[in-house]
């Protein structure tokens, strides 16, 4: 009995030692891969930052208002932000590669799934960034046009435009990474449709007078003439 216990323990010990001996080189490989990945990611980050600085992306981002939005969210400049995103994507890729080098069968499949997703994630981030640029630019354009045309609630119009572009960008990004495709498309359709319906109802009921005036303005010349008599000619 005693011998059996000792033999069992010895076998277990040998098994652990053998497994550990087999795992140790793989662990070393994983650490090396992660370290090399870190260096490569760092290099790529610097190269990417240099390329972006040549394209003057920060200026474009500043002009469109995206930098302001990033600053409000306590994020760095556009160039720095995108460089950091690239760094993390590359390094996470190497970390996953390192983990797969351990040779644990159960993890292999999951890691290959994540690997397939990485380019999609990168594209999704780019879509979100372009959405941020477009949302800021167009919402500001609407704000300026509404203020200068004397519309009421210009910030509301501007916020609506920003919201719609953001919803569109987010749904496109989620669609890109294949996350609940049907749900996202349906949700977008519902939100967009509801927004339009709400606007139509608000304009039709709440803004009956405004709707009448707008139609008259387009159809009636007299009203248009009267509206023209407003400001002195600048030139």
């Amino acid at each position: 009995m005693k011998d059996m216990i000792v033999q069992g323990l010895a076998q277990s010990y040998q098994q652990v030692v053998r497994t550990f001996a087999e795992l140790l080189p793989r662990l070393a490989v994983m650490v090396i891969i992660i370290i090399i990945g870190f260096v490569i990611a760092l290099l790529l980050k610097r190269i990417f930052r240099w390329i972006l600085s040549l394209t003057k992306l920060d200026r474009l981002s500043e002009q469109s208002g995206a930098s302001h939005a990033l600053r409000s969210a306590a994020l760095p400049s556009t160039t720095e932000f995108l460089s950091r995103v690239l760094f993390w994507i590359v390094w996470v890729g190497f970390i996953l590669l390192g983990i797969s080098a351990l040779g644990i069968a159960q993890w292999q499949e999951q890691i290959s799934h994540i690997f397939q997703l990485l380019p999609q994630i990168l594209i999704a981030i780019l879509i979100l960034f372009v959405g941020l640029l477009a949302a800021n630019f167009f919402s500001r354009a609407v704000l300026l046009a509404s203020v200068n045309a004397g519309f009421r609630s210009p910030r509301l119009w501007s916020a609506c435009v920003r919201f719609v572009i953001w919803i569109l960008a987010i749904s496109m990004a989620l669609e890109q990474i294949g996350l609940a495709r049907r749900t996202v498309t349906t949700a977008f359709s519902i939100v967009f449709g509801a927004l339009m319906l709400a606007l139509a109802i608000a304009f039709g009921l709440g803004g009956k007078e405004l709707a009448r005036q707008t139609l008259e303005r387009y159809l009636g010349d007299k009203r248009r003439e009267r509206e023209k008599e407003e400001e002195p000619s600048p030139l």
């Binding site: 200026r59 045309a149 023209k228 407003e230 600048p234």
Partner: protein, 422 residues
């Protein structure tokens, strides 16, 4: 003539048939069927009465009108004056035409006219706008005589205007141009001016400044004259019909075009205006600040409301354009009671100089910056309307001069903002 000024074969053939001329008048047109015939008649009449020994040509450059403007321009002829018989001129008044683009920018038409003047070796030239609505044979002669007779190279127009007409020119373009470039030319946005063949050749030979030419052709040509040490003057052309009051959309469009033109010119001529420290008057032939008694009906309350709402709603945009002190000052002005409302010269000048600096550095979209400036313009205009409801021409002129001096005094601030890194 530079290669980029492309004249079509038909137009070149017409020019060759005309041969060399002494005077040339260009008429850029775009859907001006109502006024083009009167304009062409006035020019032809001016040739017959004032330049009857000179060889002359009228050049119509049409930007793709759809109302038959080009055809009307070629068909209109001056009727003989009462009591006049027989020959009015010793020369045939030639009339030639070409077209460019479809509603293209006026700079392209001006360049075509200059190229024609250069090829025809014209000595005295003028550009007359059919939009102005007050072209007479005397006004055409007043633009051409200083060049033909007195040897000037650039002649800007002067008009008798309604007191509230041209407030952008009075409050921004004239004082800004005078402070920056050192030449007090009052009217550089009317579409009418005179120039010598020599100046046409200089302008055509110039490289760069394409944006400025597109955005503000008159400013570009006047500045070419100034930079080439050519002689400039201003000539009185008579009364300009009072412009009807316009809608808010028209105001925004006019300001966008004018301010963009001014700033484009500043960018393309930095080496000319930056070192300049003094301003000199430009000789005026005739009264230079005449005011007509009539003024259009204006909705003043709406102008003030739009200034106030603009300042509060556009705060985040204005923050990126103006210095914090200037913005604070403007925000302090906004709620002021109606009769006491004043937009001080210094705040106005500083806000414009800060706008110029921000435009130069493109801190946000340039078009957005200019649009954000419109409410401030409305505030300034409201202040002007309140102050000069009953003012005489001299009082308005004194006010205008004091604004010009504020622009000149604060020019170092413009340089500071223009050269600032952020």
């Amino acid at each position: 003539m530079p290669e980029d000024v492309l004249l079509d074969d038909d137009f070149l053939r017409q020019l060759m048939n005309v041969g060399e001329v002494d005077i040339l008048v260009g008429v850029p047109s775009h859907n001006n069927a109502k006024t083009i015939a009167r304009t062409m008649e006035a020019i032809e009449s001016s040739f017959q009465r004032n330049f009857w020994r000179e060889r002359g040509v009228i050049v119509n450059v049409d930007a793709g009108s759809r109302d038959g403007t080009a055809q009307l321009a070629m068909e209109a002829h001056a009727a003989p004056r009462d009591g006049e018989r027989g020959l009015n001129s010793l020369r045939t008044v030639h009339r030639i035409a070409t077209h460019h683009g479809n509603g293209a920018f006026p700079g392209a038409a001006f360049r075509t006219i200059m190229a024609a003047a250069d090829l025809a070796r014209a000595k005295a030239c003028a550009i007359i706008s059919p939009d102005s609505g007050n072209v007479t044979s005397e006004s055409v002669a007043n633009l051409l005589h200083p060049i033909h007779r007195d040897g000037f190279d650039f002649v800007a127009p002067l008009y008798r205007r309604s007191r509230f007409d041209g407030l952008l020119a009075r409050n921004v373009l004239y004082p800004f141009y005078r402070a920056a470039f050192g030449y007090g030319i009052r009217e550089l946005h009317s579409g009418e001016f005179g120039f010598s063949g020599r100046l046409a050749a200089v302008c055509l030979a110039e490289d760069g400044g394409r944006d400025a030419l597109r955005a503000w052709p008159e400013g570009w040509i006047a500045t070419s004259a100034v930079s080439s040490q050519m002689r400039c003057c201003q000539a009185f052309l008579g009364a300009r019909p009072p412009a009807p009051a316009v809608s808010g959309t028209d105001v925004v469009a006019a300001i966008r075009g004018a301010i963009d033109g001014l700033f484009c010119l500043l960018e393309s001529r930095q080496s000319l205006w930056m070192p300049r420290t003094t301003a000199e008057p430009v000789q005026a032939l005739g009264p230079d600040h005449d005011i007509a008694p009539d003024s259009p009906r204006i909705n003043r309350k709406r102008i003030l409301d739009m200034f106030r709402s603009g300042v509060s709603e556009l705060r985040p945009v204005l923050q990126s354009i103006l210095a914090p002190q200037t913005l604070a000052e403007i925000e302090r002005l906004a709620p002021e009671a109606d009769p006491q409302f004043r937009f001080p010269d210094e705040v106005w000048v500083k806000s414009l100089y800060e706008l110029a600096g921000s435009y130069h550095r493109s801190v946000i979209s340039r078009d957005h910056m200019i649009q954000a400036f419109v409410p401030l313009y409305r505030g300034r205009i409201y202040s002007f309307l309140l102050r000069h409801q009953e003012s005489s021409a001299e009082e308005i002129e004194a006010d205008s001069e004091s604004l010009c001096l504020a622009f000149e005094r604060l020019k170092p601030y413009l340089l500071d903002r223009w050269t600032a890194k952020s």
